[in-house]
Amino acid sequence: MKKAFAGNTGPRVRSDCGVTLGITQKGGINIDLKSKVGALYGDSVSELCHEVLAYFGIRNADLVVEDSGALPFVIMARLEAAIKKLIESDKEFLPPMLPKNLYATEPGRTRFSRLYLPGNNPALMINAGLHSADGIILDLEDSVAPEKKNEARFLVRNALRQIDFRGAERMVRINQGKAGLDDLRCVIPNNVNLVLIPKCESPDHVKEVDYEINKIRKELRLKTRTFLIPVVESALGVENAFSIAGASENVVAMAIGLEDFTADLGVQRTIEGNESFYARTRIVNAAKAARIQPIDSVFSDITDIAGLTQNVLRSKALGFEGMGCIHPRQIRIINQGYAPSEDEIDKAGKIVLAWEEARKKGLGVVALGTKMIDAPVVARALKTINLAVKLGKIPADWKSQE
């Protein structure tokens, strides 16, 4: 008898399960459940497994479930993955979509922090929405082992339906090439706000993904838009940055991935980042020219909070408007770093007020202290003020509070 396994087991695994399924000829369904939460959920886990097997028309099977406290949507995903290793089926066993998960996002919304979550690790997903990241990225690409790619799809699909990410932009990073297009089939029907395209090197690459998404949207008559963030991770991608940024109206931001980029260049990635200075400034410039957000690469040492803080300040100074996070502890540092500081808001407020005062008096040239203020300075100050209002750092009627 051919057996199929899906999921994760082991002493360190939490909120997950491993299922081993063998389809038999007779004898009905035999479930051997070893559950850490058996006393409280054993019966409901068994019932759920019966339901899933029946849905796929399986009447005779031996099933072993090793459960370390998996939530129902996880058990469903694991069992469906194992079933589909043994039989062909177009059917999907879907947990209900939480009504509160059906929100849309705006192209220009803040994207300071986006938390990467490995697509095959449910334990990290469940509370991910509590840490105030602007976006949550369910990753099907580099954080998932090749042999787990397929089962991760079902888990990510179910997570999109069942986990409340509390208003964070719901993002998925798909795989490269054909696998990525197949990922879209599975995830797009489940209200994905944004898709990250890895190793993006040309506008065609973006168009291909965009086309596939539109095809699915039309088929299913989906109303909400799905935005795109191409991730540039190679020398060629950097050279094509501007055309990538303008490849579709759905591209709202462009990110750089420095691990792969430095590998492509054949150099070491350093904290100072001199080796990627050109690439980063090129990305910023291309993104700004295309009126989209430039997003910086992740900072990979999660214990070095001081290093991250410095890195964010440098990144912001170059013009980046956000950064990926690989641990929830990075989120606050990143959100605070990219937001305008008290000092910046204060100065910008003074500039705007002085400008308006001068306009009232009919003066063409304005001075604040000993410094001359001209139109671009005012434009920048207004950007800062508008962002501060949007982030709730100052009230919309800030002028009357002065």
Binding site: V37, A39, L40, Y41, A70, I126, P328
Partner: protein, 524 residues
Amino acid sequence: MKDIKVKSTVNAAGRKVPLRINGEKVLPFMGVGKHLPEGRKYSPPIPSCIDYPPDGNKVVASLGEALSRCGLRDGMTISTHHHLRDGDLIANRVFEIASEMGVKDLVWFPSASFPCNEPLIKYLEDGTINRIEGSMNGPLGRFVSEGKMKGTAVLRSHGGRVQAIQDGEVKIDIAVLVAPSADSFGNAKGTGGKSACGVIGYAKPDTMYATRVIIVTDNLVDIPCYPMEIEGNYVDFVVVVDKIGIPEKIVSGTTEITKSPDRLLIAELTASFLELSGILSDGVRIQAGAGGTSLAIGVFVHEILKKKGWSSAFGFGGSTRYMVKMLEEGQMGYILDAQAFDLEAVKSVEDNPRHFPYPVFNAYNFHSKGNLTSMMDIMILGATEVDLNFNGNVVTHSDGYLLHGIGGWQNCLHARNVILPLPLFRDRIPVIVDSVTTLCGPGELIDVVITERGIAINPLRKDLIRRVKGSGLPLTTIRDLKDEAESICGKPAKPEFEDRVVAAIKWVDGTVIDVVRQIKTKNK
């Protein structure tokens, strides 16, 4: 075992409890502060100094000899303290000797048990030990829950243990007390030597009330062993051994704050709550445990105190390096210490005059003339479950198994603001439930539950609710928290129990607040 029909009643908390436990009459819980025993405290037999060596040398050759000379026999109650925690080598040895001597039906009365005491299961099985009256931990708890212990376990708080001794509810025949340093007269302390644990305050009632007291040390010093926490005047025999404990298991080299982002979020929320509610103020009195989340709360509170230029008047330990840091940097006036958890805390007790032993005998005991816990402003505690009435459980898990002791938890509920930072669920198991599996503390004493998904304040604390209104804190209700947990995890089934009572849970005044029944094991 024979099944005697024992009469039972429903106590003031609505729990069905027997009127006799281990053949002795017990009182049902009557409500917080309702039971006030009268009469005089129990007293041990009168010794005379002429029965002891005039040169003060009470050292005998071995623990076996000491136990024999104390008259060890069937049915006696043997007490130990738990300051060597999971590194203790002596408690198990006592029962090994008793077993070799063929003694039966002993009662072990520890101030707490640890996983290292698992070998005692052997002596529970062979009849050397009849029962444990103390905390249940890990394997021992499982053994008891499955109905395998001959007698009924009795679980008491640290303060309740002192109360039971003073009420004469538990008469200690022989106290076997390990001491990191001792002299030949029996003066002893928790510092010095290779097995230093800082303080040994839990042994205080045992020294005063036991009929016989044996000190076991691996560091015999010249008279006087100063400053003595145990006074030699109470001591019958001193035994010197190679090793009383395994140092790295006595204290952790270093206690660490949690790394879990979810727990850190709970800790941050708790610190914000303390700040925004105004509970945290200059001169505040603080107590928190040594768990990863509590330590993180301590660190965040320390930052707030620094920022405001405030200082905590004193903290009550369980001390850790984080508390020591507050003391040394000027954000804590004194550390009153019941136990030291890490090496830096042990060193601080030894070196810093503002960090000193303060036994639970004084701090938690129902029969003290006043209690330290009710003077504390902030009390951070844990729980395995909290229910819709804010009742708390710390001894069983939701699957019905007995797996923890009460510790000082019940005593600490008398603080002015009792705050429970808890995850909403652990591995799919909701922490907020309809009704706690085992009632350990009445909800009227639990003020705030802080989870990663919101803060619920006990409706009885209208003052607190008023103070944090409009603060921006994620306030919710206990019912909404329970509903949210169940919407994520699913509604859990209830464990099934047999009728047999395997453990009694005592309230701080000695009444029975609840019992634990034998787990019904499903046929596999």
